[in-house]
């Protein structure tokens, strides 16, 4: 896979200007950010979901570190830009560290994440991962997957979750209480809706989530919370809990592993 040179991102040539929104989500590239970007898109643009259905959001929003469309094109986009990235916090453009742009981070419980990530690796032609889930999960626990350690990734962002320009979201909350999450987004993005608009926005978002998690067209409903329970064996779960405890020990971030 080709990515842009990280030096380019950190150099002064690439500036993410004020009021821009960058979304992050490591691991569950497909479903996690997929859903998030749709929700954010809806909220930020006040867009009609029927219209979104026609466009492919996935292709609408550029990924910061991908060669396509590339930094040159991203630079030329009109503000406010919606940009995606899976990079760790430390590799982000300095304007994000300085608080000049807005950052929305979506974290997902790592057990569902690793299952979804595995299925993603298997389905993607460029990856076509051939190993077993057990092997994949071991790689995950040993930080041997693309974009590096999930444990570090999530903790780095969590350290900044109180920053004014950072909104730290959890995937499971989107399923638990979508309305609150939409309200958070509205407030964070500084858009204004009246009550009726807000309600219809939540309703649109609900539909999106339903499509993502329950649609039979999707491989085994990868968006579901508690997905891992069908895949993790009991012994794998024991090992995972141990590794999780070791690597997340001091962190006060918690996850819902099922709803």
């Amino acid at each position: 896979m080709h990515f842009v040179n990280l030096d380019d991102l950190c150099s002064p040539h690439f500036l993410v200007s004020k009021m821009e929104i960058v979304m992050f989500c490591q691991g569950n590239i497909y479903r996690g950010t997929g859903l998030l970007q749709e929700v954010v898109y809806l909220v930020s643009q006040g867009a009609d979901p029927d219209e979104i259905g026609l466009m492919n959001i996935d292709e609408q929003l550029p990924v910061l570190e991908y060669p396509q469309p590339g930094l040159d094109i991203i630079k030329e986009l009109t503000s406010p830009r919606l940009i995606k990235s899976h990079l760790p916090y430390r590799f982000l453009p300095s304007d994000l560290h300085n608080g000049n742009s807005k950052v929305i981070y979506m974290a997902r419980n790592p057990k569902d994440l690793v299952v979804s990530y595995y299925q993603f690796h298997r389905s993607l032609r460029t990856m076509s991962y051939r190993g077993t889930f057990q092997e994949f999960c071991r790689r995950f626990m040993n930080d041997k997957l693309g974009y590096g350690s999930w444990f570090e990734h999530v903790q780095e962002f969590w350290e900044h979750h109180m920053d004014a320009n950072v909104l730290f979201l959890k995937y499971e909350d989107m399923h638990k209480d979508l309305a609150t999450m939409v309200e958070q987004l509205v407030r964070f993005l500084g858009v204004s809706y009246d009550k009726a608009q807000l309600e219809s926005m939540v309703e649109h978002c609900h539909q999106l989530i339903d499509q993502c998690c329950n649609a039979e067209a999707l491989p085994v409903g990868r968006g579901r919370v508690g997905l891992w329970k069908d895949i993790f064996t009991v012994s794998m779960n024991e090992k995972f809990d141990l590794v999780y405890k070791q690597k997340m020990g001091k962190c006060d971030l918690t996850f819902d592993f099922y709803l």
Binding site: K229, D230, I231, F232, T233, V234, N237, E238
Partner: protein, 313 residues
């Protein structure tokens, strides 16, 4: 080779050969609402079994499939040999004049009970049957029964591997398929939970002793002593050691060619506790916990299984 083992190996080999030419859906048949392997059991034999005449001094081992009945059979046949002043494993312990029967009571031809009536005491037999399907004379004549039970998670795990290795049982594409069948009463010899519920009604009887696979595993010496006491067989320390040595997993696996033929490889896989953790998904784990809690946990046998110790992660 001991004659009884010849009978054993011959019968299994024949069943495997017969099963190889059968379709998967022919491998099991239903009798009184319970499934059995076509190559091992038959309605005629079940019918004949009803009038089987048990003796007070019969030694009966009862256990659901994959609970360790082959293991306990080894221990019991040695104990019986000792009770007859024979040395376990020596040629003299095999009764050359007598054609021994296949030890599983419900397996074989319909005439086997007639032949068994001529065997000298004590006769040894094993059964996977539920108590209500055993011949009534067993309970009327107060034959002694050693009831062997094992935690359901290891039973299911073992049963899955066994089914896929043994031609006489239907095999499964995936563990998930097997698990679904295990939980929905589609196993040969019936549902594990019903088996325990039925036997639980007999658990208080004086002529029935219950033992768990796990306790034999953890303290084989004490277990063998208790079993010997139950059947009234005096045992010297030396004899005890011999029985223990011959019934260890290693030595049974090593000798399995002689004792079980090609079946030995199928039968002796791991012989452990807690292998289930490597195969049960978290979801299946919760389903099993729930089923156990609802159906077995409160019963005498359920408590004896020490589910929290052996089945909780």
């Amino acid at each position: 080779m001991e004659k009884s083992r010849k009978t054993f190996i011959g019968l299994i080999d024949e069943a495997i050969a017969a099963a190889n030419s059968m379709r998967c859906d022919e491998l099991l048949f239903s009798y009184k609402g319970i499934l059995y392997p076509t190559t091992l059991c038959s309605p005629e034999t079940f019918k004949a079994l009803e009038s089987f005449e048990a003796r007070r001094d019969d030694v009966i081992l009862a256990g659901y499939p994959k609970s360790g009945t082959n293991w306990l059979s080894q221990i019991l046949t040695d104990l019986i040999a000792i009770s007859q002043k024979k040395t376990p494993g020596s040629e003299s312990s095999a009764n050359a004049e007598e054609q021994e029967e296949f030890p599983y009571l419900e397996v074989g031809d319909a005439e086997k009970y007639e032949r068994m009536s001529k065997l000298s005491s004590p006769r040894f037999m094993v059964t996977h049957l539920r108590p209500e399907n055993l011949p009534i004379s067993i309970f009327q004549n107060n034959a002694k029964i050693l009831l062997l039970i094992r935690n359901p998670k290891d039973v299911a795990t073992s049963f899955f591997h066994f089914s896929n290795r043994l031609a006489t049982l239907p095999s499964y594409e995936t563990w998930d398929d097997f698990f679904t069948n295990f939980m929905t009463k589609k196993m040969p010899w019936g549902c594990y939970f019903e088996y325990l519920s039925e036997w639980n009604k007999y658990a208080e009887k004086e002529n029935i002793m219950t033992i768990t696979y796990e306790e034999v595993k953890e303290n084989p010496a004490l277990s063998v002593k208790n079993i010997a006491t139950f059947f009234g067989i005096p045992l010297t320390e030396e004899q005890l050691q011999l029985v223990l040595e011959r019934s260890s997993f290693q030595s049974m696996k090593k000798n399995s060619d002689k004792t079980h033929g090609s079946f030995g490889n199928i039968l002796f896989r791991k012989g452990g506790v807690s292998d289930w953790k490597n195969i049960f998904s978290e979801d299946q784990n919760e389903k099993m916990d729930k089923a156990f809690e609802e159906q077995i946990a409160g019963t005498k046998l359920g408590k004896k299984l020490k589910y929290d110790l052996y089945c909780k992660a």
